[in-house]
């Protein structure tokens, strides 16, 4: 964290890293085929939850000054997700890509991300979305914080940076909890941060011309982390037989009565 003087006021210049992932579009039909997950030819997009992380990073940058680096593990195609973050306003993007990272679990992802974050260096804040749309475990942020040895603030809906600390509102089931931590810190961001901005046309121009560096495991100086969790079997949910029955009657009341009888008889309620 550095101090910069702008317009006679002292501003922080934070180095913020937004960790993102490329996932199948939310409308994709995901199914198991031959023990593998497949989503057919559905388009791949930036994980929608990670857009909130990028938004949180950009809002923080706008509030106190600094830079936002989007970081992603994935194949070459994941550059498209990074370009989305650039088009939203991220300053730079880095892809970590290595054939050995094809089927990693969250622990392995956390180790790789931590190595990349260290290589970027001097990160003040590392942001994640609350979970990914494909695996959905929501663990990677906490695991990355653990590997980096940094405080972890989860489910963050509001961010304020003050005197070398970050003060956040955590959105929990019971309400909101305000907590603070010394920077650097890892945050996972939820929707309360605000709707992610659309890419600007200027951002699109910048992103489409961007040369995104690709780091391999050897660039990070690490071996492929062993998966802690191994997937043994993958099954589609059993197909449910549904039967549609149209209930008719003379009056709405008669229809409602027949419906209520059926609901009770079938023990739906």
């Amino acid at each position: 964290m550095k101090l910069a003087t702008t317009n006679n006021s002292r501003r922080l210049t934070l180095k913020i890293i937004a960790c993102i992932k490329q996932v199948p579009d939310s409308e994709a039909k995901v199914k198991a085929e031959g023990g593998q997950v497949t989503w057919g030819d559905a388009p791949l997009v930036i994980n929608p939850f990670d857009e909130y992380a990028v938004e949180g990073a950009l809002l923080t940058k706008e509030a106190v000054g600094g830079t936002v680096t989007a970081l992603c593990i994935g194949p070459e195609s994941a550059k498209e997700a990074l370009k989305h973050a650039l088009a939203m306003g991220a300053d730079e993007a880095i892809l970590v890509s290595d054939p050995a990272l094809e089927n990693i679990d969250t622990v392995a992802a956390a180790r790789v991300l931590a190595a990349a974050i260290k290589k970027i260096g001097d990160a003040d804040m590392v942001m994640f979305g609350r979970q990914t749309l494909d695996n959905g475990s929501g663990l990677t942020a906490a695991q990355t914080a653990r590997v980096l040895g940094l405080p972890m603030l989860g489910w963050v809906g509001q961010i304020k940076v003050q005197d070398g600390s970050v003060i956040v509102d955590r959105v929990v089931e019971e309400g909101r909890v305000t907590v603070s931590a010394k920077l650097p810190a890892v945050l996972s961001v939820v929707q309360s941060i605000g709707e992610p901005r659309y890419p600007s046309f200027m951002g699109i121009r910048k992103a489409s011309k961007a040369n995104i560096p690709v780091w391999t495991l050897s660039d990070l100086g690490i071996e492929a982390p062993a998966a802690v969790v191994t997937r043994i079997e993958l099954m589609n949910p059993p197909v449910r037989e549904t039967v549609v029955e149209m209930i008719t009657g003379e009056t709405p009341e008669a229809i409602a009565e027949t419906l209520a009888d059926k609901i009770l008889r079938e023990k739906v309620l």
Binding site: H84, P199, F201, I204, R205, S208
Partner: protein, 403 residues
């Protein structure tokens, strides 16, 4: 020959689609039913830079090329026609014509606020008694010192009551033997004394859009607001239509796509005679036709976008694109309703709105019949494009994106 879109084009498509899906989809049925314009459409399109998408950054725009403009129109009209209409009249008829024909001073004064979305523009050509027959125009302007005095009425003007500026073509020389040299075009401040505007209600389609009339009673328009020379109004209006028709063509392509997507989705889930209707060959025929038409319409407007980027006149190709896409969109919507059966007849589904919206584009900005005559004229060698004093400039990335 490369038919692929650049990453920049793909990102623009996605950005515009996301805007339409997130902000317009939730409310479009409500406003279409109420026959009221969505109050935030213009403001949001301005804030997001969509209104100034194809203009150079130095004129307040976003520096994108002509193809990107068409792609945005396709995405917008795939949601609802009123969104694309804004791109036709504000960005096309008014803004792009100003960009083509305006002096540097006029561009700075009028185009910059339009491109930034700070002001809204429209194009006013049609009159209560005149549409395609431009020679029958009655609205007039008489020179009086440093001003022209405008009198008359324009009708069926999209954004008439929302716009700050209008590109208006009027008769300046009632004695001219040649109708085409009797017309002149002006940028008119619609907040001037003597200007009245109003909405037209009871339209078949584009019900969430604003369509109206403008009347001019002794409206003083400064001479410096004349676009081009006196007598160039016909050429300027035809240039405006070249731009407008491109947006209409690309937008109508969006309707075809929307009909196709809705029909495929419905046909796969609706079952008759023990199987999804998508397995019935007569349904497949309709879907295949939509799919084919979408591809043709897309290629036709891509061609126009490419020609515009090259700075080549493309009145003929624009006419092909406009006529084909608008008629195909009407047919696609008609068949989409048929596929949806009784549900398609209800506004519970979008396809009836697509049909109502698609009809207008076969009438405005040169009806299908006028397009046919244009095309026949070119084919028979009776029509040729003469050089214009101000040609639409070719897309030059360095110029467009430079500050």
């Amino acid at each position: 020959m490369d038919f692929s879109l650049s990453p920049e084009h793909e990102m623009i498509k996605k950005m515009v689609r996301d805007f339409a899906q997130k902000e317009i989809a939730p409310v479009i049925k409500e406003y279409d039913r109420k026959q009221e314009p969505i109050p935030f459409t213009l403001k949001r399109m301005g804030e997001l830079g969509i209104l100034g998408l194809p203009f150079p950054v130095r004129y307040g725009g976003q520096g994108m090329d002509y193809l990107a403009w068409g792609l945005a129109c396709e995405e917008l009209e795939a949601m609802d026609t009123h969104l694309r209409v804004v791109m036709s009249v504000h960005t096309g008829l008014c803004g792009m014509t100003l960009f083509q024909w305006g002096t540097e001073e006029q561009k700075q004064k009028f185009l910059v606020p339009l491109a930034k979305g700070e002001k809204i523009g429209c194009g006013a050509f049609t009159e209560p008694g005149m549409g395609s027959d431009v020679a029958a125009m009655r609205t007039s302007a008489k020179r009086d010192g440093d001003y022209y005095i405008l009198n008359g009425e324009k009708m069926w003007i999209s954004l008439a009551s929302k716009a700050d500026l209008a590109l208006v073509t009027v008769k300046t020389d009632s004695s001219s033997p040649k109708p085409s040299s009797a017309l002149s075009s002006f940028i008119v401040d619609l907040h001037s004394d003597g200007v009245k505007t109003g909405e037209i209600h009871g339209k078949l389609g584009v019900r969430a859009g604003s369509t109206g009339w403008i009347s001019f009673t002794d409206v003083k328009v400064p001479v410096e607001n004349r676009l081009g020379e006196e007598g160039e109004g016909f050429k300027i209006t035809m240039s405006a239509f070249d731009h407008g028709r491109y947006t209409v063509a690309s937008g109508a392509t969006g309707i075809i796509r929307a009909c196709l997507e809705a029909s495929v989705k419905y046909a796969k889930t609706r079952t008759t005679f023990g199987k999804p209707i998508s397995e019935h060959q007569l349904i497949q025929e309709k879907i295949a036709k939509m799919s084919q038409d979408y591809e043709i319409a897309r290629l036709l407007y891509y061609q126009v976008g490419w020609l515009k980027n090259q700075g080549k006149r493309c009145t003929r190709e624009t006419s092909f694109a406009k006529k084909f896409a608008t008629e195909a969109s009407f047919n696609a919507a008609n068949e989409a309703i048929q596929i949806h059966g009784a549900y398609g007849f209800s506004d519970e589904y979008d396809v009836e709105r697509y049909l109502r919206n698609s009809k207008g584009a076969m009438i405005y900005e040169g009806s299908s019949e006028i397009q046919t005559l244009i095309q026949a004229g070119y084919a028979l060698g009776e029509r040729a494009d003469k050089p214009l004093r101000c040609e639409a400039p070719a897309y030059d990335e360095a110029f467009w994106q430079g500050e």
